[in-house]
């Protein structure tokens, strides 16, 4: 049982206290799934309710990928338009609702990133500025588990065990779809350093996630 293994994993390697209430998560998922089903039937009020419940979380993700309010707002707009049009496909995805919504936000955000590639120089500067704090400081980049699915909760536990700079590099590689070379360039780190951090970070993640499998 996944739930028992979660408990055992926690005991072997004590992370922060387990606050995640699985039953609450199930109820949330049920509510969100019911909303998506109503949206599939062209219920505009359901779209508004879904927006009220999730837009903060989804906007936070778009902002992390794009860093600019106006781009993140465009990505959020594209996201909800896509939800409106593709809600009938949700059920077949077999995903927890927030995982499905998160994937849409990330793809629409990466679309925006590509669209603004001409302004990439500017973007790089901003990322460098924003990143130098995160990578040099000791404060962990805050992670947020509100609305998170059970699997996201597991990833959160495992990411928490990484060093801050490793967690940051691993996260950005995925969220902004960056290669080793692009990461090294954007973070102004030697390529070898980036590769090492990612390899070690992934190795640790693999052994940690294996306990949740």
């Amino acid at each position: 049982m996944a739930w028992l293994r979660v408990r055992r994993g926690v005991a072997e390697n004590p992370p922060p206290p387990l606050r995640h209430n699985l039953r609450m998560a199930d109820t949330q998922d049920g509510d969100l799934m019911a909303l998506i089903e109503r949206i599939a039937a062209q219920d505009q009020a359901a779209l508004k309710t879904l927006y009220d419940l999730t837009s903060g979380k989804l906007y936070g993700l778009a902002l992390r990928v794009l860093r600019r309010n106006e781009w993140a707002e465009d990505a959020l707009q594209d996201t909800f338009l896509q939800i409106w049009r593709t809600a009938p496909d949700y059920r077949a995805s077999l995903s927890p609702p927030m995982a499905w919504l998160g994937l849409i936000v990330r793809s629409r955000s990466l679309d925006q990133l590509r669209r603004h590639k001409a302004e990439r120089e500017h973007l790089t500067d901003e990322i460098d500025d924003a990143m130098s704090d995160t990578l040099e400081g000791d404060s962990p980049n805050p992670m947020d588990t509100s609305l998170a699915s059970q699997q996201a909760w597991a990833l959160h536990q495992c990411l928490s065990q990484l060093e801050n700079k490793q967690r940051e590099v691993v996260s950005l590689a995925y969220l902004r779809d960056l290669s080793h070379g692009e990461l090294a360039q954007q973070l102004q780190l030697p390529l070898g350093t980036v590769k090492t951090w990612i390899r070690r970070g992934l190795d640790q993640l693999r052994s940690c996630m294996a306990r949740f499998a």
Binding site: Q44, G102, A152
Partner: protein, 260 residues
């Protein structure tokens, strides 16, 4: 090499693939294997799900209020255009209400006759150019030189005299109305323009102001496949589209799509 016999390596490749840091030839080889070998595919999918849950861990922030307004507008536009497409393909369901105005037979007959009448009216207008003044001539010259005008109607009064020239420009989504007769409604009345589609009741296209030349916003869906336009005399400010015209019809005529 059989990747499925090396679970440690498979796990590492699948994790790097999901993170996006496996690139180039290594990525292509891994994806080829994943398509061929279910074990490799399963490992890739498991890691895709795990890594993707990073999307759910980002710090929330409230977006600006204007974002929802934009989404709401787009969704409504989306639904409107869907409804319009469905209405266009659906068979007629609505029986016209009683009364001569809503009589489908009458309007079908009128529109058939209207097509001929309009041709005659245009011919007449050309012949009577002097009497009708320079306005029509100028407008016709304008019609000939402006390629975006795709729909034209000449609305006649009951003695078959042209009273209103209507053109529709789909590019600018504007109906242009020009009064060419001498009719002037009293201050407590308004003229209202109606589309008379082949099915369903009359649909309001807008209320006319007193100017001789005026523009109304419209989209092509409002006039496409509408055989006839009509203008009725209504209380000041017009009546809602759903109620249909309440006053007498002063002018009517066929709407023709320009082929030029």
């Amino acid at each position: 090499m059989k990747l499925q016999r090396h679970p440690e390596l498979l796990d590492r490749l699948a994790a790097a693939h999901a993170l996006g840091t496996l690139r180039g030839g290594a990525r292509r080889r891994f994806e080829t294997l994943a398509r061929e070998e279910p074990v490799v595919r399963a490992a890739a999918l498991i890691w895709q799900g795990r890594v993707a849950s990073m999307n759910e861990l980002q710090t929330p922030k409230a977006p600006a209020g204007a974002v929802w307004t934009r989404i709401d507008n787009l969704v409504r536009a989306d639904q409107d255009s869907q409804a319009m497409a469905m209405a266009r393909s659906a068979p007629p369901t609505q029986e016209p209400a009683n009364g001569w105005w809503r009589s489908l037979v009458l309007w079908r007959g009128a529109s058939a006759a209207g097509a001929l009448a309009t041709v005659l009216a245009v011919v007449t207008a050309v012949g009577l150019r002097d009497q009708l003044g320079a306005e029509i001539g100028a407008l016709q010259a304008q019609l000939a030189t402006v390629p975006t005008v795709e729909y034209v109607a000449v609305l006649n009064d009951d003695s078959a005299s042209p009273s209103m020239l209507v053109t529709f420009d789909p590019n600018n989504r504007k109906l242009t109305l020009q009064r060419v007769g001498n009719f002037q409604e009293s201050a407590d009345k308004s003229l209202q323009l109606w589309a008379l589609p082949p099915t369903g009741g009359p649909r309001s296209l807008g209320v006319l102001s007193q100017e001789r030349l005026l523009k109304l916003a419209a989209v092509e869906g409002d006039v496409r496949e509408v055989p006839t336009l009509a203008i009725s005399l209504e209380p000041k400010g017009g009546v809602p589209s759903e109620t249909g015209p309440t006053g007498p019809v002063l002018f009517k005529g066929a709407l023709i799509q320009k082929m030029l």
